[in-house]
Symmetry: C2
Subunit: 214 residues, 2 copies
DNA sequence: AAGTAAGTGGAGGTGATTCCTCAACTTACC
DNA sequence: GGTAAGTTGAGGAATCACCTCCACTTACTT
């Protein structure tokens, strides 16, 4: 049965508030926060979204789609290098402005969000492959490095946006210059595996449920 | 008056245990942890070190001296570039192996540890200046970038040492290649100021006292 | 206009986690 | 053997997050 009109309106309020609160504090934000921000009772939030996961999923599924679209556009850029770096710059900007989106993007291997994850991985592979073929990307960088670089840059962004917005861009540019194919580069050694990446990503996002055993 | 022999022995046990526990969990470790690890009662720890700060200071002051020595050696390296990158690599290795040392190093502007901070800043300036003069370090990188790079790399190290030890080195090498002076580098824009750095560093370390107001 | 199912609010239960104290007990040393 | 120094760990106090429950309010139906 359809929701009553007031319930529908509250649902939308909650989603909007959740977006703002998660943008500011990431997955670490509490549902109490969301409720107050939305101007509704805590119970109302729990009635509509029985678990934090469900709320997060409702808020960020669409935003992850945007990331997928961004990756598709990167693949269509005039040059592979432009596509690659443009994707890095734009997604870093998005993640810096929305901590919840960052946490969601780093959780793409998790149950929720798995769909977006499966869409974006092949795109990243292609973006990297294209840049390798073009000869602009150093040969020993792989698409596995993508999420790690993003995690590092956006983690710094979280720590610095409050006191010096945009600072993270400086370090992204540094890493981008490090990614250029060039004689005289050092050697990066063995690339991490998919399993490594998944484990590291999980470490980089605050647990949604109360912290596990120590 | 001197400590009784058993008290002296316990004090040493506590320091040793604190080192291990802080190495594993950083400043976020609890004094209860330290006590259990040392095999003494919690009260004993508090009798000897009335606050967490005092214990941290007792454990890490010497280790920070080691960092200062490392910087001095870097300045004496055959080439400026070797000195600079060697310092980055070695200190990153130390920080990856000892999370408490990392937290201490990133707190060098704080009350405790201020002494080491005042010693190391001019050394870092000289290391960078020497590499600029040598022409191997890109002109738009400054010594202010030092702590940020270290914070980024060692934060990744904290997240990855558990599942893939040494992974952080890959990204340090990437940043080092990004630091090389080269035609075709992008532009980094304005360097952060000392005030910026201090604010960001504070954000990167878990608060020693219970978290402040929200 | 009245009935009723749907929706609401938020105090408070539950369970973690941390910091730190204190009073009864033990030990080193003279 | 006396006593000051040292030890212990249960537990007080504070904080924090998740989530439940039920007395109350509201939208919609007839």
């Amino acid at each position: 049965m359809a929701l009553r009109r007031d319930a529908q309106r509250n649902r939308e309020r909650i989603l909007r508030a959740a977006h703002e609160v998660f943008a500011a504090r990431g997955f670490a934000a509490t549902l109490d926060d969301v409720a107050h921000h939305a101007g509704v009772g805590i119970g109302t939030v729990y009635r509509r979204f029985p678990t934090k996961e469900e709320l997060i999923e409702a808020v960020f599924t669409d935003r992850l789609e945007d990331l997928v679209t961004l990756a598709e556009e990167a693949l269509a850029a005039p040059s592979a290098w432009e596509g690659l770096t443009g994707f890095l710059r734009t997604s870093a900007r998005w993640h810096a402005a929305d901590r919840g989106l960052r946490d969601a993007a780093l959780s793409m291997d998790e149950q929720h969000f798995k769909k977006a994850g499966e869409q974006i991985v092949p795109l990243l592979e292609q973006i990297m492959e294209r840049a390798h073929a073009e000869g602009t990307l150093r040969a020993d960088a792989g698409f596995q490095d993508f999420p790690i670089i993003m995690a590092m840059v956006t983690e710094m962004a979280q720590h610095s946006e409050g006191c010096r917005p945009g600072l993270y861009e400086r370090y992204l540019e540094l890493m981008i210059d490090g990614l250029r194919a060039r004689p005289g580069n050092g050697s990066l050694g063995a690339a991490p595996t998919g399993t490594d990446i998944r484990a590291v990503m999980r470490e980089c996002v605050p647990p949604i449920k109360p912290a596990p055993r120590s």
